[in-house]
C-alpha cells in the first residue's frame, strides 16, 4: 500500500523561510532511515503558495478562472510531502511520530492512502 503524507504549511513556510540547517540535517537522516527500511518512495518540499495558482470552476462555466497565489488559509495548505510504502495507516502513523521537529513547532501531518 502506498500513502501520501502531507505536511501542512505554517507562517514560516508560507513566507519562504527555509528550514534551519539543523532541521535539514535531521530530516535527511530521517529520510535515510525511511529509504533504508524500504518505506520511502519520494519526498519533496513545496515552494510557498505565492509561487502557485488555483483554477476555480464555476457551475455552468466551461472554463475555469485562474487565481494566482498566495492563498490565505495557511493551515490548510500543503508545504511538503512524502510518498511512503507500508502495510497500514497505523504503521505510517508510527513512522511519522518520529519525524524530526527540533523547533517544537505545532503542526499537522496528514496521511492518506493512495488508490491501489
Amino acid at each position: 500500500m502506498r500513502f501520501l503524507v502531507m505536511v501542512k504549511a505554517n507562517a514560516d513556510s508560507e513566507a519562504g523561510v527555509m528550514p534551519s540547517a539543523e532541521l535539514m540535517a535531521q530530516m535527511s537522516k530521517f529520510n535515510d532511515e525511511l529509504a533504508a527500511s524500504g518505506h520511502l518512495v519520494q519526498a519533496e518540499g513545496l515552494a510557498p503558495s505565492s509561487a502557485g495558482a488555483r483554477l476555480v470552476y464555476f457551475d455552468g462555466e466551461p472554463q475555469p478562472q485562474v487565481v494566482d497565489g498566495p492563498f490565505a488559509e495557511t493551515k490548510e495548505l500543503v508545504a511538503g510531502l512524502w510518498i511512503l510504502q507500508g502495510e497500514s495507516v497505523a504503521e505510517i502513523v508510527e513512522l511519522l511520530k518520529r519525524a524530526p521537529n527540533p523547533d517544537l513547532q505545532a503542526g499537522t501531518v496528514e496521511i492518506r492512502p493512495l488508490v491501489p
Binding site: A43, G52, R54, K97
Partner: protein, 142 residues
C-alpha cells in the same frame, strides 16, 4: 521545474463514489497526452479521508493521532499529479485541459516543488550529496 497539481475533494470523492467510466476514459486519455508530452512524472488518486489519519505535533508532547474522516471536504486532497514543465504558465495551460465531464472539480491547486537551489546555504554540499543518494535509494522502493 516541477509542480504538484492538487485536485480537491468533493462530497462524491469523500463518500468513496468512484468516477464514471466516461470520466475515467477521458482522464486516461488526458494522462496519456501528459506522458507523451514528457510532462507527467506521477499521477495518483487518494482514498477518502475516512481511510486516513492526522498526526498533530505540539511542542514537547507526544504527537496526537486523529483518525479520518475529516470535515472540511473542500480543503481535502482527492488526487494529484507531479508535472515537469518549463513555467507556471505552461502548467496552467495543461491543467485548464483537465477533463471535467462530471463537473466534479471546484478547484485545482498548482504548487511549485522546491528544488535544491531553493534551500539556499542551509542545504550544505554534504546534505545535497546525501539528498542525491537518497533519491537514488528511494527510486528503488518505488
Amino acid at each position: 521545474m516541477r509542480f504538484m497539481v492538487i485536485m480537491k475533494a468533493n462530497e462524491e470523492s469523500e463518500s468513496n463514489q468512484m468516477p464514471t467510466t466516461e470520466m475515467l476514459a477521458e482522464m486516461g486519455k488526458f494522462n496519456e497526452e501528459l506522458v507523451r508530452a514528457g510532462v507527467m512524472l506521477a499521477g495518483e488518486g487518494l482514498l477518502p479521508s475516512s481511510e486516513g489519519a492526522r498526526v498533530r505535533f505540539a511542542g514537547n508532547a507526544e504527537p496526537t493521532v486523529i483518525d479520518g474522516p475529516f470535515a472540511e471536504s473542500k480543503e481535502l486532497v482527492a488526487g494529484f499529479w507531479i508535472l515537469q514543465v518549463k513555467s507556471k504558465e505552461e502548467v496552467i495551460e495543461w491543467v485548464k485541459r483537465v477533463p471535467n465531464t462530471d463537473g466534479a472539480h471546484h478547484e485545482i491547486e498548482i504548487r511549485r516543488i522546491a528544488e535544491a537551489e531553493d534551500f539556499g546555504d542551509n542545504l550544505t554540499p554534504e546534505l545535497r550529496e546525501a539528498e542525491e543518494k537518497l533519491r537514488a535509494e528511494a527510486a528503488k522502493n518505488a
